[in-house]
């Protein structure tokens, strides 16, 4: 028997699955020997598209709301005549309907795969799904499904294939490429199907037993019983009956505990994160709530986040308008750009908005572990003015008999003047580095200006030095300090941030798995442990 082969990837949906490998076939269009006329090939294609639409609509009708939303996108794509037109140009050039469709869609998929951001790249597989469904209608070959209980192994997995498959018998998903933000990853998380992505291509024969250990982002081909047993028992240990935050604390190789929290941009992201996998929410933005003038909207969303988090901390950042965020029309003027009246400066200039948000935060704080983060603080007077607003609003609500609690109030460390003098901010309960702004102010290079982007990126050593100084000041004051800037979501920067003394990282939700495995593989001083183990 062949020796077990172990491969590392990235966990996209936690859990452990074992089953025979189902190797996805590469879909290839066959060139029919006899071509009909151009008009007949065009008709065949339109007929196949109509068949695919009927199938998708039937599948959507028996799916839950989230799945139907994903299929809605595919349906809308197929309803658009532009896809058939792209293929028709190839039919006119002499291709059969199947090959023309395959080629045209592949070109389009290739473009999407080159997109600058992962969220858009992750949509390419939805279009692969459309391509295969129409192709199947054209060639009469049924869409690939596989035996219940098996482990799907392939480059990527199409959402409709996932939805048609029976997952009740277990199994799992291993993708050579794939993305944690793909639609199929969302579906896998919502159905608790273990899934590991980004393993790179590896050899495995159809039907060979495979272990998907998606708690560790690990795949074992031809595992021994002992390995299966260990992976399963670790799952049981990791999921005690009481809610636990074990996933939010990572131990470095030398045993130092590092906290990992989520950054949440939109409340709908909460659904895709398992609360037990993080130490809470390290930063939730509030600019994107919709109507910022409605206190109840604020309150409802804060409550949603607190209910999601249970007893774990949820840190809400007060409205950070201005700069690149031009909601409300405020901050749109040149003078209110990056170095003008933004963040806390704007909140103190528009006290009615600040007070409305403070009231919603004070009320929500009564229902969980809420912290408040103030953006763009430069001098202690700004911090004190905002704290006074909270105290006044708390007293006013109390007089009316409204239940409130004073949250911990901390500040973003993103203005160099504040970063260098944290010891002056004795009234702040905690600190969090916002490295996106800190870097642009230290380099005097706007982060949205491509002509100076290289300078902005090259300012990293200066940022790290300021962070190390800030950490030392905060430690002397015995105040918690963390980081919520983009640097913390980039595995290349994590070693230096650890070396600078940071022990609390707030990370974009789609980067959590990567950063977790990065931190778990190093010493607390930032050295990699891989070679020494």
């Amino acid at each position: 028997m062949a020796e077990a082969l172990e491969i590392t990837g990235v966990s996209a949906s936690p859990g452990v699955g074992v089953g025979p490998a189902h190797l996805a076939a590469d879909v290839m269009a066959e060139v029919p020997a006899l071509l009909d006329t151009v008009a007949a090939e065009g008709d065949k294609l339109r007929h196949a598209v109509a068949t695919a639409l009927v199938e998708l609509e039937a599948l959507a009708a028996r799916s839950d709301e989230e799945s139907a939303g994903i299929l809605d996108f595919q349906i809308e794509m197929l309803l658009d005549p532009a896809l058939v037109e792209m293929a028709e140009r190839r039919i006119i050039a002499g291709h059969g309907a199947a090959l023309a469709w395959f080629g045209a869609l592949n070109d389009y998929i290739g473009d999407i795969e080159q997109a600058p951001d992962e969220q858009l790249r992750a949509r390419a597989v939805d279009i692969v799904d459309i391509r295969n469904r129409v192709l199947s209608a054209l060639t009469g070959r049924p869409l690939e499904d596989f035996a219940p209980g098996s482990v799907f192994v392939g480059k990527d997995l199409e959402p409709s294939l996932f939805l048609q498959h029976d997952w009740t018998a277990g199994g799992g998903i291993i993708l050579f490429e794939g993305s944690v933000s793909s639609h199929v990853a969302m579906l896998a998380r919502s159905r608790s199907v273990p899934m590991v992505v980004a393993t790179g291509r590896f050899e495995v024969a159809n039907g060979v037993g495979v272990l998907v250990d998606a708690n560790d982002g690990r795949v074992v081909v031809a595992p021994e019983d002992q390995q299966i047993h260990e992976a399963r028992s670790r799952t049981n240990e990791a999921r005690p009956p009481a809610p636990s935050r074990t996933g939010g604390v990572i131990e470095t190789v030398d045993g130092v505990a590092i906290r990992l929290s989520a950054i949440v941009n939109d409340p709908f992201e909460l659904k895709s994160i398992d609360p037990s996998s993080v130490a809470g929410i390290g930063l939730m933005r509030t600019e994107f709530l919709g109507n910022v003038f409605d206190q109840e909207t604020h309150y409802d969303i804060y409550r949603q986040a607190l209910d999601w988090a249970g007893d774990a901390p949820v840190i809400m950042r007060m409205l950070d308008l201005g700069g690149d965020k031009k909601e409300l029309g405020v901050g749109a003027k040149e003078s209110e750009a990056f170095m003008g009246r933004r963040g806390i400066r704007l909140l103190l200039a528009l006290p009615e908005i600040a007070r409305l948000q403070a009231r919603a935060l004070l009320r929500a704080a009564a229902h969980g572990n809420l912290g408040v983060l103030l953006p763009m603080v430069t001098v202690p007077e700004e911090f004190d003015a905002m704290r006074a607003i909270f105290e006044e609003e708390s007293a006013a609500l109390g007089r009316r008999g409204v239940q409130t609690r004073m949250p911990e109030i901390g500040m973003m460390v993103e203005v160099p003047a504040a970063a260098l003098t944290l010891d002056r901010f004795s009234r702040s309960d905690f600190f969090s580095f916002g490295t996106n702004d800190l870097a642009q102010y230290l380099a005097a290079a706007a982060r949205d200006d491509q002509s100076v982007a290289a300078l902005y990126a090259a300012a990293t050593p200066a940022v790290l030095r300021v962070i190390a100084q800030g950490v030392a000041l905060a430690e002397a004051m015995k105040k918690p300090i963390g980081i919520c800037g983009e640097m913390a979501s980039d595995p290349r920067h994590v070693p230096a941030l650890m070396a600078a003394g940071l022990r609390h990282f707030s990370v974009a939700t789609n980067r959590l798995a990567t950063i977790r495995s990065t931190i778990g593989g190093m010493y607390s001083d930032g050295r990699a442990a891989a070679e020494m183990k």
Partner: protein
């Protein structure tokens, strides 16, 4: 065919059924799957033509085509110009601009994917 005077102002309206607006995409994930569905469905509900241009590319795409809009790979922070010509053009521009400003009503659809 069309030689009417046009202004490149953020929002230009004339009485001959031509209207144009400019707006920044502020939604967290840019104009992706669900936002594209919502945008094109709204565009298709108007009888006028709707076209969009991304970041001064000088390429005008059919705003009713989700295939074209996805292919344009619009990110957060992109500047969109939207123009409409024909019946109810001003109304169409007003509604589409408001939709982008409301971040495609994403906050009302918790749990729906982007």
């Amino acid at each position: 065919m069309d030689n009417r005077p046009r202004r490149e102002a953020p929002e230009a309206v004339d009485t001959q059924g031509y209207c144009q607006a400019e707006i920044e995409v502020t939604h967290g994930f840019g104009l992706h799957a669900r936002p594209s569905v919502v945008f094109t469905r709204l565009a298709k509900s108007f009888p006028c033509t709707v076209e969009i241009e991304v970041n001064d590319s000088n390429v005008w795409l059919n705003g009713k085509s989700i295939v074209k809009i996805m292919g344009a790979r619009i990110r957060r922070g992109s500047i969109l110009k939207i123009r409409a010509r024909g019946l109810r053009a001003a109304e169409a521009i007003h509604a589409l601009k408001a939709l982008v400003e409301r971040d495609f009503d994403e906050e009302k659809k918790h749990g729906r994917s982007a």
